[in-house]
């Protein structure tokens, strides 16, 4: 399904974060938003996932504006994992993942066969089956994040939004999470839009990168097109060397901040 933002303006209270921003997500691909803190990445993601009402313009799924969709029907094709989330204390892994079936259920009906199948399938795929009866609160950070992602996958979305899904995880857990998302993208053709802070992780898993600064989209393209010293200097005020791995994926080695340099030379 095709998701696009048309001339979106958005913000919080008196603060305007995004102005007149348009973006079309390539269908069936993984797109990652990169940019410094405060550049508007999360705001864009929230506006695209109908968690934040745009002040101007709007987000469209298959040509229909999101607010014209029935919320429950929309949740059957569009899932979102916000940056901050906390499970109620006593909830188990199986229960939380099953909540992903909420939009597919009738208002008063219990689980259907399809609901149970979907939950089992997701628990298998995310290797959470052995933890099914554990309380989410007792899991490690990496396991917990997998459970939340599993919940959004149980929704069986066509478009998936993830806001910093790897933050606070160790390197190995970061890869586990990313591989999970890649696998779901490959096998189900799900369109993914996410925010990542780790540029090398973003370059590794994304088909398309979108670089943001000051609430604007400055560049978009493949990781090889975008990961250049010039772009990093402009977007992140970062000095970095770029190398290309044997698998053709570029990676960057930060060597310093040019914010500090600018300050020094200004003095």
């Amino acid at each position: 399904m095709k998701l696009e933002l048309r001339n979106v303006g958005a913000g919080y209270g008196s603060r305007t974060v995004l102005r007149d921003l348009s973006l079309e997500l390539p269908e069936g691909q993984i797109t990652t938003l990169i940019g410094a803190n405060g550049s508007g990445k999360s705001t864009l993601l929230k506006a695209a996932a109908r968690l934040l009402k745009p002040r101007t313009g709007g987000a469209y799924l298959d040509g229909r504006e999101l607010r014209r969709w029935n919320t429950r029907q929309l949740a059957r094709v569009l899932a979102v994992l916000p940056q901050l989330h906390r499970a109620p204390e006593e909830i188990t892994v199986g229960e939380l993942v099953a909540y992903g079936r909420f939009p597919h259920r009738g208002l008063l009906k219990g689980d259907s066969v399809r609901d149970r199948e979907a939950v089992d399938e997701v628990l298998q795929l995310t290797r959470l089956e052995p933890l099914r009866r554990r309380a989410v609160a007792t899991l490690s950070g990496g396991e917990r994040q997998r459970v939340w992602i599993a919940m959004t996958l149980a929704q069986e979305p066509r478009v998936l939004f993830l806001d910093e899904p790897t933050t606070f995880l160790d390197v190995c857990c970061q890869f586990e999470v990313i591989e999970l998302i890649e696998r779901w993208n490959r096998t189900r053709g799900v369109t993914v839009l996410m925010v990542l802070h780790d540029l090398n992780l973003a370059a590794r898993c994304s088909h398309c990168l979108v670089a943001m600064k000051d609430g604007e989209i400055r560049y978009r393209g493949t990781p090889r097109e975008l990961l250049t010293p010039e772009l990093l200097r402009e977007i992140f005020e970062l000095e970095a060397e770029i190398a290309v791995g044997s698998d053709g994926i570029p990676y960057c080695i930060p060597t310093g901040s040019c914010r500090r340099e600018a300050e020094r030379s200004g003095r």
Binding site: K46, A49, R50, L51, T71, R72, Q73, L74, A75, R76, A79, V80, L81, P82, L84, H85, R86, A87, P88, E89, E90, I91, T92, V93, E95, L96, Y99, G100, F102, P103, R105, L108, R133, R134, A135, A137, T138, T152, Q155
Partner: protein
């Protein structure tokens, strides 16, 4: 707790809670100044007569245990809803101003304008509901955020409490007559009080049960819930309204009965887990047993005089509260 509770196990626990409630109700019917056997109770109920036993059983004990059970269920379910909506296990009906609003209305009617005292129940009911509405409106800013709801509830409760205190001070000689209401008591309550509030309580309990699935989703947080297709603000408003209705109806007949709204859902959560489809009926059963049971204890403890159910509850409450604090510190 590592969440081992399965569906079958949780259903069994609900059945056990129902058995507990029935046992408590039966005890309340049996004991008092006149002791009745189960056989006598059944005979009196099936063969209405003009005996003393019948009068005591049907006009005094039966309505009182039923009212206690209904009120306990209402307060417990109200607490369970609010703990889910606020995402805070320390939430209770008082947090949205129910106690302060109902209390002020009660004090005004009983002390400031004694001529209105026959209107105690509707006044307390409306006072409680109006206060909950005021708290909601004050907390609203493009949405009713749980933290703002709690802060608005605390602020409004504090102000209304101050007004109540002032009225109590200026009518110090008549305070004894209000104690019954401010502590929470089932003494002298019978069919007329039960008839006034049962429809609200039954309607509220059923509504809460139907909304349990949506409360599960709302408890995950606003953004996650919206992502799952829940209309967050509308659901929150409906749930708050049901919680307010239940607590207001309860408070209007028994007065400011504390702690059951906090204790019952929390204990039941330890037993059946956080799924509101089990937590709500469980809280209803346990809250009903708790209030009806405490009232029976209060009736028997100092026989022939009586301790109000609120005193018994408040004696049970603080130790539990301390236990809660210890437990949450261990988890932090």
């Amino acid at each position: 707790m590592n969440g081992t509770a399965r569906i079958g196990f949780r259903v069994l626990l609900l059945v056990l809670l129902a058995v507990l409630l029935l046992a408590v109700l039966l005890l309340g019917l049996r004991y008092g100044s006149l002791e009745l056997t189960v056989g006598e109770i059944l005979r009196e109920l099936t063969h209405p007569g003009d005996t003393v036993e019948y009068q005591i059983l049907v006009n005094i004990r039966l309505p009182r245990v039923l009212l206690g059970a209904l009120v306990g269920a209402g307060l417990a379910v109200s607490g369970a809803i609010l703990q889910g909506v606020m995402r805070n296990v320390l939430a209770a009906p008082g947090i949205i101003g129910i106690s302060a609003g109902g209390g002020l209305a009660g004090v005004v009617v009983l002390l400031a304008v004694p001529a209105w005292s026959p209107w105690l129940i509707p006044a307390a009911f409306l006072g409680a509901l109006a206060t909950a509405l005021l708290v909601y409106v004050l907390a609203w800013r493009g949405g009713a955020d749980p933290v703002r709801l709690i802060l608005a509830g605390v602020a409004v409760s504090s102000m209304l409490g101050a007004i109540s205190s002032a009225i109590l001070l200026f009518n110090a000689e008549k305070v004894a007559g209000v104690l019954d209401f401010t502590i929470g008591s089932l003494s002298t309550r019978s069919w007329p009080q039960l008839e006034l509030v049962w429809p609200y309580l039954v309607f509220g309990l059923l509504g809460a049960w139907l909304l349990a699935g949506r409360l599960n989703i709302l408890a995950l947080g606003d953004e996650v819930a919206a992502g799952l297709g829940l209309r967050v603000e509308r659901t929150r408003l409906v749930l708050l309204a049901v919680a307010a209705l239940l607590a207001a109806a309860a408070v209007s007949v028994v007065g400011l009965l504390g702690f059951v709204g906090l204790i019952a859902p929390h204990l039941v959560r330890l037993l059946v887990g956080g799924d509101h489809r089990f937590l709500i009926p469980g809280s209803a059963l346990f809250g009903a047993a708790l209030v009806a049971g405490c009232d029976t204890i209060g009736r028997l403890a100092l026989d022939p005089s009586e301790l109000p159910v609120g005193v018994i509850m408040s004696l049970l409450g603080p130790p539990f509260f301390l236990y809660l604090l210890r437990r949450s510190r261990r988890e932090a």
